[in-house]
Each structure stands twice: as C-alpha cells, then as structure tokens.
Amino acid sequence: MIVRWIVLSLLLLAAPARAELNIEITGAGEHQTPLSLVRFGGDPLIAHSLLEVVGGDLARTGLFRLVDPAGRLPHSVSEVRSVEWEGTETLLLGSIEEVDGGQLAVRFSLFDVVRNAELMAQVVTAKRGHLRAIAHRIADLVYERLTGSPGVFSTRIVYVNRDRDGFRLVVADSDGYGEQSLLTSKEPIMSPAWSPDGRQIAYVSFERHRAMVYVQSIDSAQRRLLAEFPGSNSAPVWSPDGTRLALVLTRDGSSNLYLVGRDGQGLRRITRGSQIDTEPAFTADGQNLLFTSDRGGSPQIYRLSLADETVTRLTFESGSTFSPRVAPDGKGFVFSLFKEGLFYIAVQDFDSAQTQILTGGGWEKKPSFAPNGKMILFATEINGRGILSTVSSDGRVKQKMVAQRGDIREPMWGPFPK
C-alpha cells in the first residue's frame, strides 16, 4: 500500500484570529487526478494565498495529485500549450482583478491538457477580506467538475473546545479556520447539532448545573431554552424538514426519546421502559429514528419507525456501538464501535447490513457525514489531546487537524450553505 504523508501548515489569511492549525493527511484515493494549480495573474501575494487554500482543500480529499507547474504561468486558456504539460491532466488557471475598491473578481478556468479542452470557466466575486471564502468556492467548483459530487469546502462545522478555563461552543470553516465562539461556559457543553438550514445550533449546556437543551442562532447569537424538564435534557437533533427535534429526557425516570416542535411545543414521548435510549438521528426521509439503546444488554444501534413505533435492531457487534448518523443519500449510517478497549469509526449499509470499519482505532467518537457523503468528521485524540479528524467514506484517506489549545470534542459537520 502506498501511504502519502503531506503536512500542510496553512496560515490564516483573512480572518481576524490568526490561529494556526496543522493538518496531517495519510492515504490516497483509488485514482488520483494529476492537477496543476498555476499561480493566478494579478496581485502575486493574493494569488499565492488564494492557491494555497485551494490546494489545501483539494489535497485533503486525497483524490488529487498536485503537480508543480514548474514556473509556467499561463493566465488564460489561450496561453496554454497542452504539449508542454506532460505529467499532468488538468490545469487550474486564472486571474485576480480588483473591482470597485474592496471587491475581488477572480476569473478561473479548468483546462484538460490531455483532451486539449476547457472543462469550465467561472468568475467568483467577493470582498477582499473574504479571500478564504473565494478559495473554498473555487475548490468546490473544481471538485464538483472533476469528481461529479458537490464540494464541501464552503461548509462549516461545530464542535466543543474544552480547556482549563472551561468550555466553548465553536463554529468554524470545514478546514478548521475562521473560528466563531457561540458560547463560553465554566460548565460542560455537549452534543451540538445543526438545523437543516445551517442557521441554528441546538446543544446541551450545564450552565444551570444540569443538562438542558438550548437553541441558538449563529448570526444573531439569540438563544432560547428548548427543554428544561427535571433530570437530564439532551441529545437534540433536527428533523430533515426542520419543523421539529428529537431529544432525550429523563423526566419519567430512564432516558427515553421524545419529539418536540421547534417552538418547544407538542412534546411527544416515543420510547418507554427502564432501559437507556439515547442519541436519536433521523433517517433522510424523516420517517425513522436511529438511536443507541442498551435494551438488548450492551449498547447497540436500533431503528424506530415513527409511524408505528416498531423497533428493529441494526448492529450486532461483539463490543458496543454508539452515536449513529445517517448518510446524506439515506443508504447507510456511520457510528462509533467500541471493541477490546478501542473506539473505531464504522459504516453500515441498510440493505446489505454489512459493517465496514474505516479507521485504525483509538478514542474515535461522534462521527458525522459531510453533506456530500464523501467524508466523515469525528473526534479523536493525539498525545492525550482531543482533536478533529476526518476519514473518506471509503476509508482510504484520513486527516488529523490539530488545534493549538484545548481539547476538541463533539464535532458535527454542517449542511450545505443555503
């Protein structure tokens, strides 16, 4: 097996906080497209920064082999001589223009030097301060044109950062940059979950000394208490249509699943009994909940039909299974498997019921799919510190993202921007 190690040290370009994040990639896709990123025309400093982000995004997928353009600098398709580009298949080239003061217009083309044909041509315009966003957008378009799946470089993730001062609820770009703190608390924060429109986060906070569920708007920072029943209120997750949430309450004794309207009205109890039922996750059609339960002895994953409340066991592992999340295409789910002292990230297909372990094992918890279904984000640990990690959904490409301070826990990948 060929293992590639690429260590990218990406410096934050335009966002206010100059955090640094080390990203380590291992593995490669089954087929890697050779791709040359040619420095764009215009301000060389901006051009360099832009391509660094685009290149980082594409390299992290493991699907591209970046070929050094070796000094050749065509800025438009008419300047490309395909015969000069042996060893690569595709060129990304373009130019940057400043328009109306603070605006940048970035014109770019994707050119196939094997077929000598332009694959796409686009202009992305944004404020100069949003250079990273422009770069992520270009990477999304290049990725989609070359793989057939939409890119997720413009999406965001949410996680909890824990250090000696306490807990922070953080939203960041999918590459870990552009951190925005939504909440700081001395008491634990758990289980953040995105609304389907990407505008709100539901989460569990212990700020009133026990677990209660809050819903907070990302942009306005407005928030409200969704559930404050006696005992623990936890594990919130939105239905795909955004009209209601599933959550876990212990107000009637043990941990059971409930549904509640997004306005906090219309509470409906879904499971009964003295066992633990927790971690609900809607299926893509919104008609079923996957959840973790110890009703069969060890914690395993079950599916419940919301129509008739019938329950089917899905995992039969020798260890325990936790934290199910359904794939965006609805065909399977990802979960965390605890076996012989280690946690692994695994996927299961609904039709075949086949389980595939994607990772090498460790403290690997809380997986969630990227909205294109191609990558899985999860929490793991390196040298005793909690970090973010991703694995491609075929298990071939892995990356670790190490932040500078604190432990990162409880990540969840957000939806496509709306």
Binding site: S191, R210, S232, A235, T278, E279, D294, P299, W363, E410
Partner: protein, 181 residues
C-alpha cells in the same frame, strides 16, 4: 434546592448572631445603680436566652458537623457499564439515608458520573441511572424521595482523566451533595 440554601443560610446566620451577642452585652454601658436591679433581672433573662441560644447553636453545629462528615464520604462507586448500587457501599448509603430521615428539611442532589468508555450521551444516560439508583437506595434506607434531586454529568466532569482503570474506577460514581447550588 432553595430550601437547602435557606437552611444553610439560617445555620450560618444563627451561628453568627450567637457569637456576636456576648460582645455586644459586654460593651453595653451600665449608667447607674437604679438601673442595677432591672439590669440584674435582664441579665438573668439574657443568661437564660444565651443558654438556650448556645444549646440551639450546639445542636445546629452538631447537625452541620454531621453533614460535613457525610459530605466528605459522599461517593458510591460502580463497575463498568453497571448502574446498580453495590453492596460495598451499603454503609455509606445507610449513613446518608438515616441522616436524611432524621432531618427531613435537608435536601441533597445526587450527581451520577461515568467513565469515558461510551459516547458522551450514553454516559450522560448511564450517570443519570446511577443517580436514580442511588436515590432509590437512599429512599429504601429511610430518606424521603422529595429530599433527593438526581442529575448526571456523564463523562463531562471526570475526577481523573487518564485512560486507565485506576482512573475510570474513580469516575464511575454517584456523589451525594448537601451543598449543591
């Protein structure tokens, strides 16, 4: 919980008053002999009051001491992925239960915890069950259910954070807290 805060406040308040009172009396001026008879009657009354206050204070202090002693051994422990109270903690449970039975105005908050081997949400649920079962054991031992609130911190507040059994065994516990806020 308000009741408990109030109870603690009252204990502290009364202790404070009782210790201040003699100083105030010692500082009170005795102006003339005519006042002496009244003063001696008042002194007798004051002495009786002081005696009663001292006794009440001593009684409250005894309760506070007993509560502090119980608070210092307030944990019960659980095996991995088990939420039943263990026989080893029988004495601890009985001591707390008997104290609660003897002092019905005292309330406690039982907080369940879990080690990190599980998802955070599963562990929150497991901690809640440990707290519930601890409450049940306290009620069986004579406490009133209304005196006991249960919460869980799951794996969020580990007492010890290494990945080994020595640590995990410390984190699989329920704490009976008298001074919870």
């Amino acid at each position: 919980m308000k009741k408990l805060i109030l109870a603690i406040f009252l204990v502290n308040f009364l202790v404070g008053c009782a210790s201040n009172k003699p100083k105030e009396e010692a500082a009170a001026p005795v102006s003339n002999a005519a006042a002496a008879a009244d003063t001696s009657a008042a002194d007798a009354q004051a002495a009786a009051d002081a005696q009663a206050a001292t006794e009440a204070q001593a009684a409250r202090q005894a309760v506070a001491d007993e509560m502090a002693a119980l608070q210092s051994r307030n944990s019960v422990y659980f095996p991995f992925d088990v939420d039943a109270v263990q026989a080893a903690d029988r004495d601890t449970i009985l001591q707390h239960a008997q104290f609660l039975a003897a002092h019905p105005s005292v309330t406690v908050r039982v907080a369940g915890n879990a080690d990190e081997r599980g998802s955070s949400e599963y562990n929150l649920a497991l901690g809640q069950r440990r707290a519930e079962n601890t409450k049940r054991a306290l009620v069986l031992g004579g406490a009133d259910a209304m005196q006991i609130e249960t919460i869980s911190f799951g794996e969020e507040k580990p007492r010890c954070s290494d990945h080994n059994e020595a640590c995990w065994s410390q984190n699989r516990r329920a704490d009976i807290n008298y001074n919870a806020q």
